[in-house]
């Protein structure tokens, strides 16, 4: 069954075309990495799929329903969205943040908050305030907050870009791992991580999907070099392919 599909999405802002008649469909489970150079439209695509921005034209469907027709709470239960930057305006405590995330289900939040606390090992952090957390701790807390309602669809916009490599691996692995039971669509900055951890990869450029397919197929595709404007050397290793870029 198709979990989410987009039909001829167009987004224009201030004379610029950010998404150009983009269509896609994704099944109910799987991990999909969205890659592309700066300005390709990755963040815009994710925000439109999440219902955070409205497309100029075109439609997003969740299952067989129009995304725009879902109520706010239906959308909040169905789609989890991990933003690129997150800085709460008030210095909330960890337990308070996770609880706010859990409350959007409309169900009692306590049990979900406890489950998230165990999954993301927050026991030692619960009394801490956001401003006192390290980057890695923040990433865990944010994941727990967004995933507290266990949404069938997770959309994540380069959530690990600012983390050191160890924490980046943890976050990307957690997001990709989620694709075994749910659907995880993640904008990934680091191409090696995209090809190593995700089942499928979507290559985006100038608001269009240039190529999409399994990670193994796409990594050999020469359009990858064209879109990024570099020549990739593809190195075969035990853990999969590694990319080394040259001008």
């Amino acid at each position: 069954m198709t979990a989410i599909s987009a039909d001829k999405l167009v987004v224009r802002r201030g004379g610029a075309t950010l998404l150009d008649s983009l269509s896609l469909a994704a099944p109910a489970t799987g991990s999909i990495a969205v890659i592309g150079p700066n300005g390709a439209g990755k963040s815009t695509l994710l925000k439109v799929l999440a219902g955070i921005e409205r497309p100029t034209s075109g439609q997003v469907r969740i299952g067989d329903r129009d995304l725009a027709a879902l109520t706010g709470s239906e959308r909040a239960r169905t789609i989890g969205f991990l933003p690129q930057h997150f800085e709460p305006h008030w210095d909330l405590g960890v337990a308070e943040l996770v609880r706010l995330g859990a409350e959007r289900s409309g169900q009692p939040a306590g049990e979900a908050a406890q489950r998230m606390s165990r999954t993301f090992e927050l026991a030692g952090l619960e009394r801490r305030r956001w401003s006192t957390l390290s980057g890695g701790e923040r990433a865990r807390v944010l994941l727990a907050t967004v995933l507290a309602v266990d949404p069938p669809l997770l959309l994540a916009d380069e959530p690990a870009a600012a983390l050191d490599i160890g924490h980046r691996l943890d976050v990307i692995a957690a997001l990709a791992h989620r694709g075994r039971e749910r659907l995880s669509i993640v904008v990934v900055h680091d191409l090696d991580l995209a090809f190593r951890f995700f089942d499928r990869v979507i290559l985006l450029d100038r608001g269009r999907i240039v190529a999409h397919g399994s990670a193994d197929d796409l990594i050999k595709d020469s359009r990858l070099d064209d879109v990024f404007g570099v020549r990739f050397e593809r190195l075969s290793t035990e853990q999969g392919w590694l990319l080394s870029a040259r001008r």
Partner: protein, 326 residues
């Protein structure tokens, strides 16, 4: 729990201080006699004059604290305040019109209605200006608010000069502008209690969504919130609260700014505890300020708004400096 007991104890102490204070200080024994039903003039003055005034001051302060907390929550900005965003100025303009312009409805009805219309209109105007200017961030809002507040204040002065004559005392309007709680009748005090309780109840309905909005607009939308609709609703609620405060207490500066800050340090930033805590802190601050207004320069009375501005301004600068240092 300890914080709430502390706040309640300080409020009780402030009420006792407020009732005792004046150009003629009352001793605890005087207070006890008055409450006990003593019929002497002194006791009757305490019961019919000072107690209602102190309670009214507390309720006006609670409304100001509540209004400030709602505004800071909805604008996600600790510097947002009914004053800086023009809503108090709008309410004062509305009230000035009600006091000076002959209208078809009784003044007791016109005053709160026009105060509300002014508060709401000014806030909507400020949001509109900052949107048109493309500066919806905190700085843009505050600048638009300062400009609107200045225009409203000029309009109010113009109305006062143009419309006051022998039949309408400028003194009435001036005492309003400078802020001051009049001694209410017991029935008016009852009305104020109901309004304050309703405002607190109304604002608590917004508490959880104010928290979600505080996560940022993107997160709030992804949590299912219709952000423009909620902001409009919360601004409307904030305007009702500010208008009620202005209708009963005139323009009292800094309480709406400082009370939520103090409350946030005491109970944290979640709005469900923050809103009632800000109301309690506001009540304490205005009761003490009103006591100072009555007792500092006997037999004259300093306008309450001057006391809160003189005490509140430096206090706030101090708090801000401390906050910036940490």
């Amino acid at each position: 729990m300890r914080t709430w007991s502390l706040l309640t104890a300080v409020l009780a102490a402030a009420i006792v201080l407020g009732v005792a204070a004046g150009h003629d200080w009352a001793s605890p024994a005087d207070l006890w006699r008055a409450i006990d039903g003593d019929k002497s003039l002194r006791s009757r003055l305490l019961v019919d004059w000072r107690i209602p005034r102190v309670l009214a001051a507390g309720l006006v302060g609670a409304l100001l604290g509540l209004g400030g907390a709602i505004y800071q929550g909805v604008f996600r900005n600790p510097l947002a305040e009914p004053y800086l965003l023009g809503s108090a100025g709008g309410a004062a303009l509305g009230a000035t019109v009600a006091l000076l312009v002959p209208l078809l409805m009784p003044q007791s009805l016109a005053l709160p209605l026009l105060a509300f219309a002014g508060a709401w209109g000014a806030t909507v105007l400020v949001i509109g200006i900052s949107r048109v200017a493309g500066a919806v961030d905190a700085a843009g809002l505050l600048l638009a608010g300062v400009a609107v507040a200045a225009i409203l204040s000029a309009l109010r002065s113009f109305l006062m000069l143009a419309l006051s004559d022998e039949t309408v005392s400028l003194q009435v309007v001036l005492s309003w502008v400078l802020g001051g709680v009049q001694t209410p009748t017991w029935s008016a005090l009852g009305l104020l209690v109901l309004i304050t309780a309703a405002c607190l109840g109304l604002s608590l309905l917004l508490a959880q969504r104010l928290d979600v909005l505080g996560l940022g607009e993107t997160m709030a939308i992804s949590f299912g919130m219709n952000v423009p609709r909620f902001v409009a609703l919360a601004v409307l609620a904030g305007s009702v609260v500010v208008a009620a405060a202005v209708a009963f207490g005139g323009l009292v500066a800094f309480v709406g700014l400082a009370s939520p800050h103090i409350a946030r340090w005491l109970v944290g930033p979640l709005h469900r505890p923050l809103l009632p805590a800000a109301a309690l802190v506001g009540a304490i601050v205005v009761i003490v300020a009103d006591a100072i207004a009555r007792a500092a320069l006997p037999p004259a009375e300093i306008p309450l708004g001057l006391v809160t501005a003189i005490a509140g301004g430096p206090f706030f600068i101090l708090l801000l400096a401390r906050r910036l240092r940490t």
